[in-house]
Symmetry: C2
Subunit: 287 residues, 2 copies
């Protein structure tokens, strides 16, 4: 008979899940989870009270979660786990555009805009206008025609459409298809720094630290083309002072872009812009 | 500048929580948690899809939790973590009565019953009558008078009062104080094997395994006396075939008790019992 002792309980629990799981993956994941959880508790001499408090915190994390707010994903993000998994499964060669987090604000089915067009919801007087253009290519350098460029970002006030009430108009998201020479161009607005949600359990954790809750401004992309795996990434302003302290560890060297200031005048897309604006060039290299 | 790479992301995340926490315990626990989570994910090459599914499962685990149902505690129990913590913080000498899990069904404020009295809610014809008696002592062997023996268990149908609708009558729980010679005695009913709740996320996990969800029958105790730390434990029938497969790993060698069968007749507490019943002797040795 083998009952639990401090010496055998970890092996007893891990081997039960290992041996009695119906499939090998469940066996592997559950036994590994048991070992790491036990090791975490032993290593820190976790007290009963701390663990009880943690289970209550985990419960609240589930309870605040709904279709649009995913608090466990946010937790995973701020622990660096989401980014680690991105990197772990990124086996792309160096010359391919780097991927990064999808983030919680993606909305599928954005409206199509033409070459040079403007993202919906951006008015003439909103924020700092930005013209973004570039070419979609394969790793061989050949342009890819008809690639789908799905773009989303926050507006000049820091709001993503996904944070607005349901039924709100389309805001700062669109799809454009690359032209025959692989080129794309659209007008948008400079995205702004914003805080991750801190009114829930993750915010409780942050309140016990001095960790910054401010994400550096960025623009998200999903770029797909037939025969190429879809690239999910975002780009950052190289001048941002928030890159290193990004609470979700999203910044990567290859994703920093220069947003170059321009005088008022006729923009590359033909728009007459009555005040300073910016331009950025961004080529996508798809695997 | 140090942005995330597969090589540095774990250290980057762990050291952020380590260095920016406001108190040393948060620093220790969070950085250790980051390291173990990352190691778990790397070791198993956890896929994005698996992790997303896990976060949805964690959310459901929080959402089914309420004041009386604690699914994260149940999860902790079936992973052997709760029992591990019990053992980790058990520094009692060998001669002290062993502790084990409190379990989810404890209700404070049970009614007092006299020496020899019966647990409320047990009728003459219910299950197999059981007379439980013994002495509360200190480690020096001296009897402890006036010790509080708080007892709770399921009834012969397998139901704990805590599983009944709110406002149900008191069922199978009571408090008795030891007499001047440290002795106690009460009449109850043989507890029965029962299943942990499997209609929630923990049940989903169990469905992927052949792990038994049946706990061996047991009787819970909280025994306290002035100047002694409160003992929380339960006792098991030594004859049970479910001890080794206890889904929450609660059984310990020192907690197995002989429930000895007796012919119908006058029981030790003076009751006339018209069919076979059992008696068990259980001394509590308090630190």
């Amino acid at each position: 008979m083998s009952y639990a002792t401090l010496q055998n309980i970890t092996e007893l629990s891990a081997s039960r899940w290992q041996e009695q799981a119906k499939d090998p993956r469940t066996a592997q994941l559950m036994s590994s989870l048991v070992r790491h959880l036990h090791e975490f508790a032993r290593e820190n001499a976790l007290s009963m009270e701390e663990w009880f408090e943690a289970t209550e915190w985990l419960s609240r994390t589930g309870q605040i979660t709904n279709d649009t707010r995913k608090e466990f994903i946010l937790l995973s993000d701020v622990l660096g786990l989401s980014m680690m998994l991105e990197l772990l499964h990124d086996s792309k060669p160096d010359e391919a555009t780097q991927n990064t987090l999808l983030g919680p604000f993606y909305i599928p089915g954005s409206p199509e805009i033409p070459y040079g067009g403007r993202l919906p919801g951006i008015g003439d007087d909103d924020g700092i206008p930005l013209i973004l253009s570039g070419t979609v290519r394969g790793l061989d350098g050949e342009p890819i025609a008809g690639a789908t460029i799905d773009v989303w970002q926050n507006d000049h006030t820091g709001i993503y459409e996904a944070q607005m009430p349901e039924g709100s108009p389309v805001l700062c998201r669109a799809i454009q298809h690359s032209r025959d020479d692989g080129s794309y161009m659209f007008r948008t607005v400079m995205p702004v720094d914003y805080s991750i949600p801190t009114d829930g359990p993750v915010g409780e954790l942050f309140a016990k630290t001095d960790i910054s809750d401010v994400r550096p401004a960025h623009i998200h992309f999903k770029v797909g083309a037939e025969g190429h795996p879809t690239l999910v990434t975002h780009i950052f302003d190289r001048q941002s002072t928030r890159l290193e302290s990004d609470p979700v560890f999203g910044a990567r060297d290859g994703l920093l872009v220069d947003f170059i200031e321009q005088e008022a005048g006729t923009a590359p897309n033909g728009d007459a812009i009555d005040r300073p604006y910016r331009v950025a060039t961004l080529d996508f290299a798809l695997v």
